[in-house]
Symmetry: D2
Amino acid sequence: MKFFSDNAAAVHPRLWQAMHAADAPDAGYDGDALSARMDDAFSDLFGTQCAALWVATGTAANCLALAAMVPPHGGVVCHREAHIEMDEGGAPGFYTHGAKLMLADGEGAKLTPEAIAALIDPIRNDVHQVQPHAISITQATEYGRVYTPEEVARIGSLAQGRGLGLHMDGARFANAVAHLGCHPAEVTAQAGVDVLTFGCVKNGGMNAEALVFFDMELADVVRYRRKRAGHLQSKGRYLAAQVLAMIENDLWLENAHAANAAAREIAGACGDRLFHPVEANELFVVLSPAEQDALRAQGFDFYDWTAPAGAPGAARFVTAWNSDPAHVSALARAIAAL
Amino acid sequence: MKFFSDNAAAVHPRLWQAMHAADAPDAGYDGDALSARMDDAFSDLFGTQCAALWVATGTAANCLALAAMVPPHGGVVCHREAHIEMDEGGAPGFYTHGAKLMLADGEGAKLTPEAIAALIDPIRNDVHQVQPHAISITQATEYGRVYTPEEVARIGSLAQGRGLGLHMDGARFANAVAHLGCHPAEVTAQAGVDVLTFGCVKNGGMNAEALVFFDMELADVVRYRRKRAGHLQSKGRYLAAQVLAMIENDLWLENAHAANAAAREIAGACGDRLFHPVEANELFVVLSPAEQDALRAQGFDFYDWTAPAGAPGAARFVTAWNSDPAHVSALARAIAAL
Amino acid sequence: MKFFSDNAAAVHPRLWQAMHAADAPDAGYDGDALSARMDDAFSDLFGTQCAALWVATGTAANCLALAAMVPPHGGVVCHREAHIEMDEGGAPGFYTHGAKLMLADGEGAKLTPEAIAALIDPIRNDVHQVQPHAISITQATEYGRVYTPEEVARIGSLAQGRGLGLHMDGARFANAVAHLGCHPAEVTAQAGVDVLTFGCVKNGGMNAEALVFFDMELADVVRYRRKRAGHLQSKGRYLAAQVLAMIENDLWLENAHAANAAAREIAGACGDRLFHPVEANELFVVLSPAEQDALRAQGFDFYDWTAPAGAPGAARFVTAWNSDPAHVSALARAIAAL
Amino acid sequence: MKFFSDNAAAVHPRLWQAMHAADAPDAGYDGDALSARMDDAFSDLFGTQCAALWVATGTAANCLALAAMVPPHGGVVCHREAHIEMDEGGAPGFYTHGAKLMLADGEGAKLTPEAIAALIDPIRNDVHQVQPHAISITQATEYGRVYTPEEVARIGSLAQGRGLGLHMDGARFANAVAHLGCHPAEVTAQAGVDVLTFGCVKNGGMNAEALVFFDMELADVVRYRRKRAGHLQSKGRYLAAQVLAMIENDLWLENAHAANAAAREIAGACGDRLFHPVEANELFVVLSPAEQDALRAQGFDFYDWTAPAGAPGAARFVTAWNSDPAHVSALARAIAAL
């Protein structure tokens, strides 16, 4: 009963079906009919003109976006615990040619305009200090926390006022939108986001994310950079197929609702053990080592996590689009019984 | 009846089957059982200890290999028409952080020790000139030409003598080995090759190539660099599944034999029109514009190509693992009838 | 009466003399007799075999050193307020091709083994997190604080134990050694330092620092990287002349003693206003805005500085090799009279 | 009697004088009065508004210029024998973050619009091939050849038509203008040049070149990049002093006329031995090994050179602003007497 992560779950049957359908011969790279449909499909989804490119991983998608917004001598503001800072093996430094990640603080790995301003206001406007050129936020965050449309809009407003680009790492964008129940444009295009990494892999995809450009000029540069990074697959139609299947008929929301619901069910059993509100599909739970052992002895797999100060230990549980309801209920019961 | 390229053909059924089997939950990234089998599987295939990593594209695989062998201030010798020079959108410059491609000449896009020496011998051994650190050759070449084991060994010997690494871009390695009928180690490990890009995508794969390291220390660096390039997929098991299915039961050779045979059948009809010997699955054919039109009118798709001096025009035809025998025969007949 | 910085002071007469003497024709780049003497001159100074290269600026020297020790996918541990992090315009990212600065804390901008371990111990040894490859410390620090030989040796020991390189940014190395009264090797070669940026510019030089390699293999790479960075001047003999004049007859120490003594004289008047002990030639002084105005009205120039919590304001004063004794005494009196 | 190169000659007395005058205290970096005068001084010289920055070396100046005009995924057209390709240790790859040098041919290391078009016209406008973003030409060329205003203007016109930037490497710009007898703007601003590396070091400077931006927006980026490359010297006033002394009272032309006249005197003795016309201060002379020995036995120093096909050997002689007239005449006589 695995609750390690959503990033290794099985591929959704409708994506398998779409990939098989893509087996028919078509042009290489992104010259095929499926890739050609992406711009329109995402423009429909967001209700605004945008450009969309498939990319195999979130790391590549995030970093291609940043590199399009930030010159090598510039910087990107992000949270100290952002995935781009903590878990991408230095990919931002590679893709941006050495631009700097500028680390701000904030509860639940969420940035606020105040925290951003506190970081960048003291930077002297001279050549000795790296100047910020963009902000990157994660929706939902690394702690499963969700920005409201208003919260994003406030950051978007600050970005616009300072001439900074705004990137959203949406590896779990679907979970965030499912939680908010809003239109996806409300937390992106309408809130000042220039580029969105629209995650599919954690939500039932195999190996395709989408980069969605509301600032469409950025897409032109990224087309070159994607190839230069070895991310322009010659059989790109299999990636386009995944992405299109994900957004057609709202499969992305359906899967996210399922994962979120599973997380909520477990959360209901956790009570005060939760040290982050459960808004998406991740649970951060205070558990003593003995309690962890007990759960593992019952067959539950999950990661140890850094406990809040004073707590005896902690663990992270992540649900997925296909979390087995029986496993989920079993876990909830097991935690309740601790 | 498409003869554009082998790089957009359908995925082989046995790879589909292997990918579906990989749907069962397993650890993320390359922590799964399939990824773990790759070293052994390739060591068996080559009859020598090696390390193997999956990578989604040949461009990324080639450039990760080069970056592991060449410091940013160094250079890589390659053919003037090599894929890394002509068709990878500057990826070598990106991955190597600005190292230089040093261009040598040679018939059929093949390098020779003599051509390499002619290029690098005049380089002064001082800091003003970029020093070569590696050689990259393509097997089969961009013109479908194949290096014999002896030819590779002569280059390997030069590389070793000069302290240079040796990389082989084997996007069509299977076609080359199928043509040679030799053991794959004879043109690689035994001939001094340090790293091989073992191509699968052009040979029936979806989006997985293998980087095979005979110099196993290089693999350790590439593990970090692969992640840093956003090429460590979280569901890597679907890539490992493709690669393993390709080499198990010699599917790679079976597919390559099919493609090569199709090319040979067409070649038989081309006579003096061929301006490169057909050793793999590519045909370079003198065709006047009128003749091209005639073939296209019969439903054959192919790329225009640069004609040899004096020729009225030319075209490139590429066969694939699944080229329809009826289409192949039809093309042969159509060319013969011109 | 300028106390802005030591980095814009006049050039010492003996350096002018040495540069004029270098006007005689000689070979270009570093092929001249003066450049050739540098290795021996520094080996004599440090009492151990080392290699020494001239470089025009401290920023370039620091970053060339780091790039020689750290691969693009690695990281460098430094203090959160280190010059390489705060004031080099992103040069480390440029020279290292995107390696990461990993920021540790410590009083007075000094690192400790404990602070370094607290930063790097939690880093998982996997490809998702950037791994440290070197440590960089500043002697004297950005707050004019000096590491004792024992303190450096403890860091050197940790570095060796972890397989990390150790770089010392010695922009004010002379001031530190003058303060310590030790042999320069005691805080460098004997304490585990691999490369030292030996500062001259802040100590009476015009535009030459020396990179001193106790790990001599690093120098071989840096010779190429220096050229590649456009820092191999064709009339390098004028830089060698500066550096050699600086270390011959202990001019470097003489100049540093003068600057340190001036700082001490002012410090004597500051009492509790000092919020960092004065060990080199920098003073960090609590001064209210009104007091700052009063000093400026008397003709003293200096930078505003960030005050400690609760203080009404602060300023930084820096003395130089040629600080006018009358100005120094006047400043001391003026502060005492506040 | 050294005729190796002009790049290691003594510093002109008026530059020494100007540097000494700069010893007076002033602000650091480029905040001093001399640095502040550079824009106006060059705007006066060229009779058009421009921005000018000092940089210590031609390599850094050239590469900062290119990096401002070319994105990392782009390319720069230059001559196959250009200094940036042959003798800068890979600096263009470093500064541009891996952009590509695209090599064109041309007699005497001169580019023509036809040669440039022949190179770039076949480039497919797709992401697989690196797209040109700028052209770099050298005035005078590596063979001492000079572009006329009309020749530059034709290249400038092509650049403008294709949307490419135009950089001029003017390491020996003074020698070229002295030869042409034209206004310096005629071969630069008026001919479509966006950025000029205005060489001083080979013309009597110590370690300062000027980057002159006719496209002034480029200068804003380069201010950041110069710092990031460790080329913003803290005592920049000594570099500004050199550059200003060079252009005031036409010292740059005076020095170049002297060097050119010396070269012409020697050229007069060379007759058919010359394999490049002598337009600036370099001579390329057919000399058999025995003749070279004979000259060296008489005390003349010079570099061997690659001889034209069929010639028994060759040498390069370079004159400088301070070539001793007696040595020059002696060399001319010695060659005539061979």
